[in-house]
């Protein structure tokens, strides 16, 4: 449904995208994760037909974003990172304008506007000026506008920015509901826990490249990975030496009497590690294996302080 092949985009001397490739199948919710300046917004803008790439190919629902931009826009909903609003328009007028802009006519127009009003929870405030709405309301208004023409593909660039916790939960539920209706979604966000909750797949982007495969190779994935938090007594150097000697284990970080170990495999492998360490004479006071979170993965790939 979303295809990007070897996309390159240069801003003067900076390569915003450097051979980025991605394929999102119909019905997926894919999270796009990477540090600031990694190329997330550039990629989304290219897919949304706002920016032209220098080389490569990008397509939405089989339509080339450069060759058939109108066909792309007809099936695409785009929510920018900082969405703008016409504050001097009334709520209903705002939806009516975008219904007209998407050529929604006749009875479908009225139905689309009513649906958008209901979705944004602003039916009772349809005649109010947009400028009088709260930030959360405005965010809902923009999201409802993005969905007005019932797009089959959604590109969401930091959709949770500025939302309070309740609004964030509502947004997550809405995204899940849309996905259940068959909408394919590419979502960029720094809120990793949200992405972990809703996405079917995560794509890592760094310096304009899709590094998901590299990251998986570096950490031994796609096999399952567990992260074990181990607390022990005694000499730390000796314990670290024992851990490093264990098969399928990798020290992520350590401090004092605590070591964080990544184990390739599942609970069997974790149990084997525990037996191995006990056999080596390590006095363990806590051994806590859990699945590696997106935050763990992010920290491992992009660096940052240990948890």
């Amino acid at each position: 449904m979303i295809e990007a092949t070897d996309l390159r985009k240069q801003y003067r001397s900076t390569a915003a995208l450097d051979g980025f490739s991605l394929r999102v199948e119909a019905g997926e919710i894919v999270g796009l994760v990477g540090p600031n300046g990694a190329g997330k917004t550039t990629l989304i803008k290219i897919l949304a037909t706002l920016l032209r790439h220098d080389s490569g190919r990008a397509a939405i629902a089989g339509h080339d974003v450069v060759g058939q931009p109108r066909a792309v826009r007809a099936v695409l909903g785009y929510l920018p990172d900082v969405p703008g609003l016409y504050s001097d328009m009334r709520v209903a007028e705002f939806f009516e304008f975008f219904a007209d802009a998407f050529h929604i006519k006749g009875g479908r127009r009225a139905a689309a506007v009513e649906r958008a009003l209901a979705r944004s929870g602003l039916s009772a405030r349809r005649d109010e000026f947009v400028e009088h709405l709260s930030l959360g309301m405005k965010q809902k208004l923009v999201l409802a506008r993005t969905l007005l023409h019932e797009p089959r593909v959604l590109l969401l660039d930091e959709p949770a920015t500025g939302l309070d916790p309740l609004a964030r939960i509502e947004l997550r539920e809405l995204i899940k509901a849309l996905n259940c209706e068959g909408v394919t979604i590419l979502i960029s966000s720094h809120i990793l826990s949200d992405l972990e909750d809703i996405c079917t797949r995560i794509v890592l982007i760094s310096a304009g490249r899709n590094i998901t495969d590299d990251a998986q190779l570096a950490s031994g994935a796609p096999n399952k990975t567990l992260v074990c938090e181990i607390e022990f007594l005694g000499d730390a150097d000796a314990v670290l030496q024992s851990v490093r000697a264990a098969a399928a284990a990798r020290v992520v970080n350590s401090s004092g009497q605590h070591v964080r170990v990544e184990v390739q495999g599942g609970r069997e492998e974790a149990s084997a590690l525990l037996r191995f360490l006990v056999g080596q004479g390590v006095r363990i006071v806590r051994f806590d294996p859990r699945e590696a979170s997106l935050e763990d993965r992010y920290r491992e790939v992009f660096g940052g302080p240990a948890a």
């Binding site: 706002l50 007809a74 703008g84 802009a101």
Partner: protein
């Protein structure tokens, strides 16, 4: 109807300036009429109400008419960049351009909405001055054809300034830059063209001094006056000038202003198409 036009007109008429500007505009034009009438009736307050016998009403009417259409052009040229040069930059500043560009609106529709809204307000101001001009009819010396010709040329000039303003607006990110450049262009075509024509004519006359045989200064050739064809005030006056040559001067001016309108409109539409990174 193009949804952009409906949206723009609705938003424009909600602004406070929608009623403040016509009020100020008509106030200034009313002042111009009073002043011109006062001056053209020998400049005394008393004579303004009892004109001297040797002054024809038609002469006063023509003087008032010329003063009004020239002042009107100057005022509208000052206002045109306000309506046009911020029209697209405001969409960039309030981050709404992305919503327009990712909808099914074409760049032409976006441009047409902005251009029509800017022109409609200027036309509203132009039409609102008709009652002021009606005074000239009561004095005589001016016909409906003169008014129509003046309005037609004024509209052509305003359309070209509107198109230049929209081009600046499509090019720059911020309204302040776009408006400043548009005003610079307005000043250039109003002042620099006159200075350029004067300098070219002076230079030509210096090279062609008065001969004893002719005893009169020869007129410089017409092409030296070419910069004036871009001068809005010269263009407006040319409408009432007697016809010289195959193509009347007003037609040359009109063609130039229309060409500028088309050129800058096409450039603006291209810019809207390409300026997704500013969205």
């Amino acid at each position: 109807m193009n949804p952009m036009i409906r949206k723009e007109l609705r938003q424009r008429m909600r602004e406070r300036r929608a009623w403040i500007l016509p009020t100020l505009y008509l106030g200034v034009l009313g002042g111009v009429v009073a002043l011109t009438y006062y001056v053209s009736t020998e400049g005394s307050f008393e004579s303004a109400f009892r004109p001297a016998r040797d002054i024809q009403g038609s002469a006063i009417g023509a003087a008032v008419f010329l003063a009004v259409i020239m002042s009107q052009l100057a005022l509208l040229m000052l206002l045109a960049p306000i309506f046009s040069a911020g029209a697209i930059t405001i969409e960039k500043e309030q981050r709404t351009l992305a919503g327009l560009l990712t909808s099914l609106l074409t760049p032409f529709q976006i441009w047409a909405g902005k251009f029509t809204a800017a022109m409609m307000f200027l036309v509203l101001l132009l039409i609102s001055s008709v009652p002021v001009l009606a005074l000239c009819f009561s004095l005589g010396g001016v016909g409906w054809s003169d008014v129509a010709a003046a309005f037609g040329m004024t509209l052509a000039i305003l359309a070209s300034i509107g198109a230049i303003g929209l081009y600046c607006s499509s090019y720059f990110r911020r309204s302040v830059h776009s408006t400043a450049v548009c005003y610079a262009v307005v000043i250039a075509i109003s002042v620099l063209t006159a200075i350029a024509a004067y300098m070219l004519a002076s230079s030509w006359q210096a090279r062609h001094p008065v001969t004893q045989a002719a005893q009169i200064q020869p007129n410089p050739p017409g092409y030296l006056m070419a910069p004036l064809y871009l001068n809005p005030f010269y263009a407006l006056i040319s409408v009432f000038a007697p016809r010289e040559g195959k193509v009347p001067t007003w037609a040359k001016c009109l063609a130039l202003f229309l060409a500028m309108t088309v050129l800058f409109s096409l450039l603006a539409i291209q810019n809207i198409k390409r300026r997704g990174e500013q969205a």
